[in-house]
Symmetry: C2
Subunit: 670 residues, 2 copies
Amino acid sequence: MAVATQSLEELCINSIRFLAVDAIEKSKSGHPGLPMGAAPMAFVLWDRFMRYNPKNPKWFNRDRFVLSAGHGCMLQYAMLYLTGYDSVTIEDIKQFRQWGSRTPGHPENFETPGVEVTTGPLGQGIANAVGLAMAEAHLAAKFNKPDAKIVDHYTYVLLGDGCNMEGISGEAASLAGHYGLGKLIALYDDNHISIDGSTNVAFTEDVSKRFEAYGWHVLHVKDGNTDLDAISKAVEVAKAITDKPTMIKVTTTIGYGSPNKQNTAGIHGAALGVDETALTRKNLGWEYAPFEIPSDVLNHTRKAVERGADYESDWNKALADYKAKYPAEAAEFERFISGKLPEGWDKVLPTYTTEDKALPTRKHSETCLNKLAAVLPELIGGSADLTHSNLTEIKGFGDFQKGQYQNRNIHFGVREHAMGAICNGMALHGSGLIPYGATFLIFTDYMRAAIRLAALSQAGSIWVMTHDSIGQGEDGPTHQPIETLASLRAIPDLTVIRPADGNECSGAYTVAIEKSKAQASTLLAFTRQNVPNLVGTSIEAVKKGAYTVVDCAGTPELILIGTGSELSLCVSAGEKLTAQGKKVRVVSMPSIDLFDAQDAAYKESVLPKAVTKRLSVEAASSFGWHKYVGSEGDTVSIDHFGASAPGGICMEKFGFTVDNVLAKAIGLLG
Amino acid sequence: MAVATQSLEELCINSIRFLAVDAIEKSKSGHPGLPMGAAPMAFVLWDRFMRYNPKNPKWFNRDRFVLSAGHGCMLQYAMLYLTGYDSVTIEDIKQFRQWGSRTPGHPENFETPGVEVTTGPLGQGIANAVGLAMAEAHLAAKFNKPDAKIVDHYTYVLLGDGCNMEGISGEAASLAGHYGLGKLIALYDDNHISIDGSTNVAFTEDVSKRFEAYGWHVLHVKDGNTDLDAISKAVEVAKAITDKPTMIKVTTTIGYGSPNKQNTAGIHGAALGVDETALTRKNLGWEYAPFEIPSDVLNHTRKAVERGADYESDWNKALADYKAKYPAEAAEFERFISGKLPEGWDKVLPTYTTEDKALPTRKHSETCLNKLAAVLPELIGGSADLTHSNLTEIKGFGDFQKGQYQNRNIHFGVREHAMGAICNGMALHGSGLIPYGATFLIFTDYMRAAIRLAALSQAGSIWVMTHDSIGQGEDGPTHQPIETLASLRAIPDLTVIRPADGNECSGAYTVAIEKSKAQASTLLAFTRQNVPNLVGTSIEAVKKGAYTVVDCAGTPELILIGTGSELSLCVSAGEKLTAQGKKVRVVSMPSIDLFDAQDAAYKESVLPKAVTKRLSVEAASSFGWHKYVGSEGDTVSIDHFGASAPGGICMEKFGFTVDNVLAKAIGLLG
């Protein structure tokens, strides 16, 4: 059909399609299939329903949109460009997937204002969206008043077959149904194609029925390619259903408009090529040059700028009204969204002396969480069904449940991966929330993709991981981390802290809270078993990652480096060596990441180059420790799987004893 | 009810319960709730249905039983003891969860004959069971003849609420439904309790409806505590349905029989205590001392020994008959289950010279897989919806699909985690299958728990991971591994190999296949982009993990260590340095794991202690490299996230160029 016969809406939709086709054609890389098929639903959503302000992408009360099928990012960039965001110009679109561009190969919230979360790894986005909707529900319940609503938005998420195959999406959808998140609306781009071809090869379940089983309201738009009114109608119904999340299955044709490639896997993830691009232009009656958008289209889509300014201005008035009526709540709300911590918050964290009782560091963690919860109302989180093992309940703040969204203890169920992505969604809601998620350290393996994305996407999630070594005991090797600390320390931009005692736990939380507000993620590793409180530990010192807890006069002959539960072994071995006349320094290294960030002078002051005899002691893999012990150093470590036996026995059998540390130290001293 | 009034079956069931209660009471650690509630269904299954031979736990044609809710392992140990397995005596039960026992805290196939797979991390077992059922379906389709069935067993799996909350179980169940695995029967212990309390706090979905949506047949036993006939009837129905897997929801009471703790989270994972144990004895009319089992019970349950001998003897006759009729197939079948490789299998792997065309190592991987598939009919596997990116199709061997179980290309869909556990299940079927699973290297994050369990449980799964660095390119940081290699190298008993060229790819597959047959798992990392074939590489050398590819006369001043796509940078830089009169050795290190396993003399011959100036070059995190470059060495590495741009640009911008290697090398030489 020629342009002349196309309605304005058709022109808008084809604009989205060709921005994608042409950008991908130019970069010779990308995924045109989804943008071409999902353009109608995106247009309907952004044009008729979503409330956002292109000139202030961070306007608090905006509707959130998540492209869970992140490979289709040209869809999102096209929408940002068409609706007038400054972050994506036509020049940016021409730079799609190029070095330094604001239009990377998958949506990145830290590169492109207007993008809420970082997606691409499939299934993460829908779980992030559950987190965004939970954040909205929580803040609405906390701040809104019968006569003044300041938190009131929807969360939309577009997901594909790939997302729906991933386990994380099922976990998140089950929780969303359980919580009855009525303002969460998922559009499922049901196009029957994934990379391997027809979904018939691996995915023939009844997705709608599955979502119904989760407690969602499910709708079906049979012709998502052209029936805009059916899409509209479905979204209207979805918005009206407030006690359940809604999944709208929108049946589309992947690569709609490409005569030879639509409805094939060939258009999922590759440029159309010169010939097929020309044929698609002809087929859709698109007479414009690459990157040329008809002015009628822009005139229409850019009305979003004016609408957005109005939305924000109305909301500002509502907020002013709220401020007048509820000054205390308004002040708190403003502090929340400012991302600032309240004055003196860290003063509540306890300190300890060696006289204080030996306790598991998970118990200290519980104390810290509860002290902090009292002064930081933005602290919200919970455990993946291990609340009373992780000790993560914040007492007196109730369970977050359907209709009880003001509460702050979240039961994630045995769904570590969704927990991770939900925390990330809550963190990236931009409302100052500090989400935490907890499980056994070993089960970070189940949620590693979300932990990595927290670090990458600058989500200030805090991971509270307990049972951090073979000290876990009887559960055996399936539950005992060995390589886990190393594997987490290797993740860029994630700060891993394994505190040794009460003071270091308080220090660890100080760092984690500050980092959360600075959009950085921290993982804390705590013991199951008792550890003594030691001389020389402190909150302040933890911030530097490693520091001397016991020193000798003059240059040490040997440095013992311990972390967590093994620091006390180093201290005891150090005492015995000192008694034997050896010059020994004991260093606590709760965080390799924090230590690496110190300047060279500080590092030299703790681990002088001249002292080459160094022994690290950690009930975990030696992997990564040679950087600190050096070529002439050694490790007390465990480079094989653990065993099922009481924790103390495991520690002893695997060499985590003062005697063994002593023996290895003497071996080094020669 | 007093013992006198209990039926023999009730006595048997109470025997299971009290073996669990008393063992856990003695060890003061464990999970009595599940064994007490699930004892009836376990008894019915083992007594009335399952075919196994206690005196030969590895009898090939046995029904497989998987306790996906692995924390309930005392249930399985009780069954093994009662039915007469030599692996679990009453003394072993008294040693529950103690150092060196055969009754560890979760079921471990490598410790306890009769246990098929290692479970505990929730959801893995149900996915392993899908793998076991796929292995059975495949071998049955391959070997059985209309007049001779030698492969014919069911796979039973018992799973709980926790397993059903985990995403991996949904992924696996969706695939099982898609494949119509009629001989897979899942018993869902529906007891409404998980660690955090009632499932009402986090898990209110309709599980039955969800399984129906996956294409399963679903049954419900309303009283799993006492209605043995209803359980029997359900299993009978399930067995008769051959075109779909069946899920039997068995509603039970956790901790059944404990008057004060049943139906509470308190009995899930802790000993009952002296008082409650006594009350439970009274309540269930159990008059026996701890670990005392009535002789009537043992007389009955140990009939399994005779039954088992008969099953095996009948099968041996059938096998003899098969052998007579189909000698070629029988010889192949016997080779399969012997775990032996056919003579000369590795001769098919190609070798290359520097004249051969530069190719991506994933392309070499494709060649190896296809060459091997022709001579190793036990090679079976596929990709998580990235077949044509991972290049893992074995051509001419068809797609494994419902009714096409003889085929060997598996489409796992976008379900990395289930793929991992399914491969492990196939490997642990004990039939010589060599399963492989593929995705992008970065997405090992989604399946890490299964990769770890492959290593721990001695499953010979092979992981084929492509797009192994920032060379991945335009997809950007969500898809570019940085820390991934380090995080995988840290896993005990997993061999990670990153080959540099065609010869090393052939070497990598040689190792992976041999290791698979030796029950060890290997992960292979391949490039997306072209790499040249280099001088000095070889299949044999890969087996040692690291070796000299280019050497100088005399003692080197500098050693350059490269892996994968970066080895060629080292070779080029080495040439330039040599031209400048420097004495340089270039070492290829495709596998740190294999190198670490060499003797000290070999290690010294490759990396002499005296040569302290060493530079590693790998387009990945430096984490772990200091062990090899030493205190005076350096790394060319990337310790931050990547970027979206063409792969070559990423490599250049992040310093993976000959010039940068040269500059760093010269810096080291001073």
